[in-house]
Structures are given as structure tokens and as C-alpha cells.
């Protein structure tokens, strides 16, 4: 476990923090967005913000696929599950996500056949085992998950399975970052790029961020030192007047991504003209749909969907949290009306959601953390 210790070494973290502080221009405030929910998790679990100078803040982005699914799509999925002779299959993360008419768990309790699966291949297996039923896979996820769905559709086609389809809700992080850059709400100085998404798409798709928006981006690993190293690399670029895509996680992320995965996705899916993201609204060319060639595996072509747009509950401020405008603890219902046990918003449902990460690690504002440490030192 030497390597792990090396990446966790608090002394190294403090040394890196000192280098970070030395790079900060006096009087300037830096705001970096970590796009990926896994990074958000590491930041709060290890209290990384406490290692950073006051002038550097990290804001979380929309990189949690469960969190960005709009309520109307959850209602559509439940409507599919309610069709006669349908078995709906879904990742466990989706089960508690509330739509306008409740969640998958609520629907299942009311009598629909909704089954949790680990892999889309498990959903395909359910289809093989139930030839008299139509089995739908609730396909969600960003670039990391999409190739698995595409490969499963290709497998179903190769085997000639006729009772299987997907309800495709796959979204792409790159257009979402662009939407955030175009939004007037937030001034950002750079991005900590997603790790596992980048194993699939590589680093090239981010090149527009420095080229068109003049912001640096560094793809990062998930260890605490990976994140601090990425912040250091971002500040170094700014200090040297550079603006590039850099790869801190090159031990896992190839610059060109996984070309087999990209080919599979492009064979089965194509861009949707537009798609709604919770909190970000409609973003053009930000999601995928099944190509005509694989129409037989597209639940949206098999069944008529309500397709109703459902507004988020008024009290819920997930939208602002997903855009990085609000910290979770600044939301009016955080930790009171909205908890992981009784979530109002999606950011509290998924373990990768910013609110759940904050809640689970008991982190509030830096001010509050300081107050707690002063109180405990007096005690």
C-alpha cells in the first residue's frame, strides 16, 4: 500500500498547499469548478478546502448524471414501467430519484415491475429470461456509462433479441461545461476536468475551453493529492500566462480516450437536437438518442411517452447548486426539509451529489468549521 500512502500523505498535502499559496496573486480571488461528482466527494471527505488559501475556492459542477435528470424524464420512465407486460430495469442510484409523480421505488410499491441491475448486460439477461415480457433498461449516465449501454444494444442486435429496449437519457459533460461558461451567473478561473469520463473521451474534447473561453482545464484523479496537484497546475498556468488542457491523471487517462468505446457509441447513438438538464435548462446537442438503425431497441419509439415538462419543487435549489452558484449549505432546505433519507432534490439523492457529500461528511461553511474547531479547542 506504499503508493496509496504516498497519495494520502498529509505532509505532502501541506507542502503542495504551500506551493499553491505561493502561486496566488495577492488580492486576486480564484474560483475553480470541479466538474465530476467523484471529485466533489474527495474534496469534502478530506476537507481539501481547508488546505487551500482563502483566495482559492472550489465550486462543484453538473457532473452527477442522476442529479441532472429532469423530473419529467423520471415521470416518462415511470409511465413506461406502467405499460402492460413491461419490466423496467435500472441502476440502484435511480430508484429514489423523485419525479413529479414519485420515484421508481414508489412506482414499484404501487405494483409495477421495476428491477435493480448492476449492468445493462444484466438487463439484457432479464430480457432473455422473460421472452413474454418487454424489458426496458433505464439508460442514464455520462460518457463513462454510455459505451456500456451501446455495447449492450450491439449485443442484443447480434443475438436478435426482440423484447429489449433502452430509455436513453445519456448526457454529455462537454456541452454542459459550455453552457456554464455561457451563463452570466458565474465567473470561473478554470476547471478540474473529470477523471473517468476522460478515460473514454480523452482530453481533446476540452480543447475549446482554453481556445474559445480562455480558461485552463486539468483532468484529475480521485486521490486528495491528485486534486491539490490539479489546483496547483491550474494556478501555475494562470501565473505563467498559459491556458491549456493538461492531464494530471495520465496514469489512467489516455490523451485520445478509448477509441473502441467511442466507435460503439457513435454506431448506436446520435446527438439529440436538445435535452433538458435539471438546473441548467435546455442545452442543445447535449444528449444522445438511439439511431434509426437500432430503432427496434429504442423505448421512445416503442411506446408513447407523456413527455411533460415538470418544474422542480419551489423550495429546491438544486439548479443553483449544479451550476456552482450556491454551496449546498446555502440552500434553504439543506439538512432540514431535504436529507438523504427524505430528499427533495436530486443532489441529495445520489451519493455523488454535492448536497449528499456535504451532508454525509458534516461539512458546512469554512466559517462554521473554524467555529467548531475553536469551540473544541476551548473544551
Amino acid at each position: 500500500m506504499r503508493f496509496v500512502d504516498e497519495y494520502r500523505d498529509a505532509e505532502k498535502a501541506r507542502a503542495l498547499a504551500a506551493k499553491i499559496a505561493a502561486l496566488c496573486e495577492p488580492g486576486r480571488h480564484y474560483k475553480f469548478m470541479e466538474v465530476c461528482g467523484g471529485h466533489t466527494h474527495t474534496i469534502y471527505k478530506h476537507g481539501l478546502e481547508d488546505y487551500l488559501p482563502e483566495s482559492v475556492s472550489l465550486v462543484h459542477g453538473p457532473g452527477c448524471p442522476v442529479c441532472v435528470l429532469p423530473m419529467g424524464r423520471v415521470d416518462d420512465a415511470i409511465a413506461l414501467a406502467e405499460q402492460p407486460d413491461v419490466i423496467m430495469t435500472s441502476f440502484g442510484d435511480m430508484m429514489r430519484v423523485p419525479g413529479g409523480r414519485g420515484s421508481f421505488f414508489d412506482s414499484s410499491a404501487a405494483g409495477t415491475d421495476i428491477r435493480m441491475v448492476y449492468s445493462p448486460l444484466d438487463a439484457l439477461k432479464v430480457a432473455r429470461q422473460n421472452p413474454d415480457k418487454h424489458v426496458i433498461f433505464m439508460a442514464i449516465g455520462m460518457e463513462t456509462t454510455t459505451p456500456s449501454t451501446a455495447m449492450t444494444v450491439l449485443r442484443a442486435a447480434a443475438e436478435g433479441i426482440e423484447n429489449f429496449s433502452i430509455f436513453c437519457n445519456h448526457v454529455m459533460i462537454v456541452p454542459a461545461i459550455k453552457a456554464i461558461l455561457d451563463s452570466p451567473d458565474l465567473r470561473l478561473d478554470g476547471f478540474i476536468g473529470p477523471g473517468h469520463v476522460s478515460t473514454v473521451i480523452g482530453c481533446r474534447p476540452y480543447e475549446y475551453i482554453p481556445a474559445e473561453y480562455g480558461k485552463p482545464i486539468v483532468t484529475a484523479g480521485f486521490e486528495p493529492l491528485d486534486i491539490l496537484q490539479s489546483v496547483y497546475m491550474l494556478l501555475q498556468q494562470l501565473a505563467e500566462g498559459r491556458c491549456e488542457v493538461e492531464n494530471q491523471y495520465s496514469r489512467v487517462v489516455p490523451w485520445d480516450g478509448n477509441t473502441v468505446a467511442l466507435r460503439a457509441v457513435s454506431e448506436v447513438m446520435e446527438l439529440r437536437p436538445y435535452f433538458e438538464w435539471r438546473g441548467l435548462g435546455f442545452i442543445s446537442h447535449s444528449a444522445l438518442q438511439v439511431r434509426e438503425k437500432y430503432a427496434a431497441f429504442d423505448a421512445e419509439r416503442h411506446f408513447a411517452l407523456p413527455g411533460v415538462r415538470v418544474a422542480d419543487p419551489k423550495a429546491c435549489q438544486c439548479g443553483e447548486v449544479l451550476k456552482g452558484v450556491l454551496k449546498p449549505w446555502e440552500c434553504k432546505v439543506f439538512g432540514t426539509a431535504c436529507t438523504p433519507e427524505m430528499p427533495i432534490g436530486t443532489c441529495m439523492v445520489s451519493s455523488e451529489g454535492a448536497c449528499a457529500a456535504y451532508y454525509n461528511f458534516g461539512r458546512f461553511s469554512r466559517q462554521r468549521i473554524r467555529e467548531v474547531s475553536i469551540e473544541s479547542s476551548r473544551a
Binding site: G38, Y118, D122, G141
Partner: protein, 93 residues
């Protein structure tokens, strides 16, 4: 579903397309390696598994670091491992 879980390839299953037997957290499961056809793994290689598919090859040290990260996550990791252990993508089972 967003978690990447490291596993060690034990055996490539010759009679089934794209499947390998992989040891994850001390348990053997069939994992699809169809996304790694450009650089296929062999027994002894470590891979990063995502919803039943190997997404990339990693070295053993990275695998240990990834596992340490996951164990630190707590409940979400327990749920993911429980789901993986329920998974039976191997068609013979």
C-alpha cells in the same frame, strides 16, 4: 453506477465473446472486456470496471489506490459491490 471498481483478470473465457473472469474484492465475476479490444487484457492484468465493463487497464498500484478511495466512500461503495456481486452477465450461470 459512477464508481470505477478495480479488478484483476483471472481468466479470459474462450467460449464466450468479450468475457473475462475477474477477481473483485476477493470474489470472481464475469466482466465484459469488449471495450479493450485495441489492447486486450491478459490474466494478471488489472482493469477498472464500470457497470460490468472494463473501461481501461490500470497498474496494480493504481488499482490499490482506487480501492482505497472506494473503501473510503463507505455506503455507496458497499451498495455498488453488493450490486456487482448480484450481477450475472456470464450467460452460462
Amino acid at each position: 453506477m459512477c464508481l470505477g471498481i478495480p479488478g484483476e483478470v483471472i481468466e479470459i473465457l474462450p467460449d464466450q465473446p468479450d468475457l473475462a473472469m475477474v477477481e473483485v474484492s476477493g470474489v470472481k465475476r464475469a466482466i465484459n472486456i469488449g471495450l479493450l479490444t485495441d489492447d486486450p487484457p491478459i490474466p494478471g492484468d488489472w482493469i477498472l470496471i464500470h457497470v460490468g465493463f472494463a473501461l481501461s487497464k490500470i497498474d496494480e498500484q493504481e488499482a490499490k489506490a482506487a480501492m482505497d478511495f472506494l473503501i473510503g466512500i463507505g455506503q455507496a461503495y458497499d451498495d455498488e459491490i453488493a450490486a456487482l456481486l448480484e450481477s450475472r452477465i456470464d450467460e452460462r450461470q
